[in-house]
């Protein structure tokens, strides 16, 4: 069983904890992550300060992870940032899988489309992922949707290639031959007979895409081409903190630790899933 694998347990449990943090962020002693107070700028972790609410009141607040140069609470921003990262990771994996599966099925099953589709995929793969992503985001103005699409695009060819190679193997199986002989329509064969047999490798691939997407979203925000700076994402917190890194390194470290931990958990989960679902595949080549 999948759950008996140690990597799956560790990765899954960490991820579950992060999901709970993301959902429960408002009740974990946080304030609205966009609130700030000029009197509480650049506090060190653990210091007391005040925060101005939207209706003009000033309330005392314990800054567990310190505050940034606007006087915003890093702890609140990091916790709310979990939401953005997890949503981006999951959404990117779904978008890339959906498009990749569609293209891969077509390329693998429809001979005439194969050449064209795969040439375009090769072309996309020849451009480093980060360059595609920052260009797309910068040109279409950063919003949650564009960031997700921008990060998903460079991953589509990898999924398409995987699906295509699986389809080429599966289509030779006797049960496909039987389906063809029975006069089953092509879409029906593709989605009803071939697709279900590609799910295990796709799940593994999806996990890796998720990890990569969370990483890339943070990089985009950090470079200043990602989501707008007032949205609390780990990359944005670090981008804001880097200016004062020498004096206040915690602005970079707390979100950095959360980011590394999340990506690590997803990667470990992926490794565990790969080992349990795909015992034939020795070690790795998912680069």
């Amino acid at each position: 069983m999948v759950l008996r694998n140690g990597s799956v347990r560790i990765g899954g449990a960490t991820l579950l904890a992060l999901v709970l943090i993301a959902i429960a962020a408002p009740w974990l002693g946080t304030v609205d992550p966009t609130l700030f107070d000029a009197a509480s700028r650049d506090l060190r972790p653990g210091e007391m300060g005040s925060i101005s609410t939207l209706d003009g009141q000033t309330v005392a607040h314990h800054f567990r992870m310190g505050s940034d140069s606007y006087g915003r609470d890093i702890y609140s921003r990091v916790l709310y940032g979990t939401r953005v990262s997890l949503i981006v990771g999951l959404a990117c994996a779904l978008v890339a899988l959906f498009c990749g599966v569609l293209l891969g099925l077509i390329a693998g099953y429809v001979r005439r489309a194969d050449g064209l589709v795969m040439r375009v995929m090769d072309g996309i793969m020849a451009i480093p992922a980060i360059l595609i992503a920052i260009t797309v985001v910068a040109l279409w103005r950063a919003s949650l949707a564009t960031v997700i699409v921008a990060i998903a695009i460079p991953e589509i060819p990898r999924v398409a290639r995987l699906v295509r190679s699986l389809v080429l193997t599966i289509r030779e199986e006797p049960y496909i031959e039987a389906a063809v002989a029975l006069g089953t329509s092509a879409p029906n064969i593709m989605f009803g007979h071939i697709l279900p047999n590609t799910l295990a490798p796709l799940l593994v691939q999806g996990t890796y895409i998720c990890a990569f997407a969370i990483l890339l979203e943070a990089i985009l925000s950090f470079l200043g081409v990602g989501l707008p700076p007032d949205i609390p994402t780990w990359g944005n917190i670090m981008a804001e903190g880097r200016v004062q890194f020498v004096a206040y390194p915690h602005n970079v470290f707390f979100p950095g630790v959360f980011l590394a931990l999340t990506v690590l958990a997803v990667n470990i989960l992926g490794d565990g899933l790969r080992d349990t679902l795909d015992p034939k595949r020795v070690d790795d080549e998912h680069a």
Partner: protein, 299 residues
């Protein structure tokens, strides 16, 4: 393949919203001024014609003029080439020197402490973002210990010492993910080679273990290692963009970010084409090197 890249790059940037002429003209420009700039840039002609003209120029080495820096993109790339090339070369050097011996040793003592440590480190290497690592290293070596400069770049012409002092931290940062990648593949490939009959033969005839490992196992694992170094170039290029930003190195990566922020179409096109060309060429060279690495392969 490069033609596909060219079409993609051109399409991506030309269909993007945002009028480069309006950006160049600035906020105070009148409609006539903008139209004038548009005409000057050739943005009014049919797209196919624009693409044809552009491709012809690209093939003759003319990448156009930067909207933002107002100089030839080819010149611009030339100016920024040295830091990026130096950074990439040093990174690859460090990565190969560290990861290949470690990967081979891990495979040799399969399941031992080195093996488990290395595999753990390798997952970690894939997960820690380049810029988090960069700040960790800056904090440790530049701020706490004060051994190395925090940021900046020194040209080779300024002296080898200063050049290396500025470059060692960025290159180390960047090499971590590369090490993780190469070490994994080296381990897997050597592990496979060690299971072959010729290894048993070599041991049986009394060859020293080091010679078995290097001459017989590692030599037979050379092709997959070379392949992954080539694939890793894509990760390296992505890493260069981030690392140069963190360490304030005036290279191609920094140029890419600046160009994107300034919506400088010709420069973005030029940089992406250049990076893709490098990636494809490096992988072509690696394909050709298989002949040297494995005498069984003939083209």
């Amino acid at each position: 393949m490069l033609l596909v890249v060219a079409v993609l790059v051109f399409a991506l940037l030309r269909f993007a919203p945002g009028d480069p002429a309006a950006i160049m003209a600035g906020d105070a420009a009148t409609a006539e001024q903008i139209a004038q700039i548009r005409a000057g840039l050739g943005l009014e002609r049919p797209l196919v014609v624009q693409f044809g003209i552009w491709l012809g120029k690209v093939l003759s080495g003319d990448l156009g003029e930067s909207f933002y820096f107002r100089i030839k993109v080819a010149t611009l790339i030339g100016q920024r080439l040295e830091p990026t090339f130096a950074l990439a070369a040093l990174t690859i050097l460090i990565a190969v020197l560290v990861s290949v011996p470690l990967g081979a040793l891990a495979a040799w003592r399969h399941g031992g402490w080195l093996d488990r440590t290395l595999m753990g480190f390798s997952v970690l290497g894939f997960s820690v973002p380049v810029f988090v690592l960069a700040y960790l290293l800056i904090w440790l070596f530049s701020l706490e210990l004060g051994w190395l400069p925090v940021q900046g770049y020194a040209r080779i012409a300024d002296g080898l010492g200063a050049f290396l002092r500025h470059l060692i931290l960025p290159a180390t940062t960047l090499s971590v993910i590369y090490i993780a990648l190469i070490a994994r593949v080296t381990r897997a490939a050597v592990l496979e080679a060690l299971g072959e009959d010729y290894i048993r033969t070599a041991r049986a005839k009394g060859l020293p273990e080091l010679r078995v490992l290097v001459r017989h196992a590692l030599a037979n694992a050379a092709v997959p290692i070379a392949t992954v170094i080539g694939i890793g170039i894509a990760i390296l290029i992505g890493g260069v963009v981030v690392t140069e930003s963190v360490y304030a190195i005036p290279g191609l990566g920094r140029l890419t970010v600046d160009a994107v922020l300034a919506r400088d179409f010709p420069t973005i096109q030029g940089v992406i084409l250049f990076f893709s060309l490098v990636y494809v060429l490096v992988n072509l060279l690696i394909d050709l090197s298989y002949v040297l690495l494995d005498p069984r392969i003939r083209y």
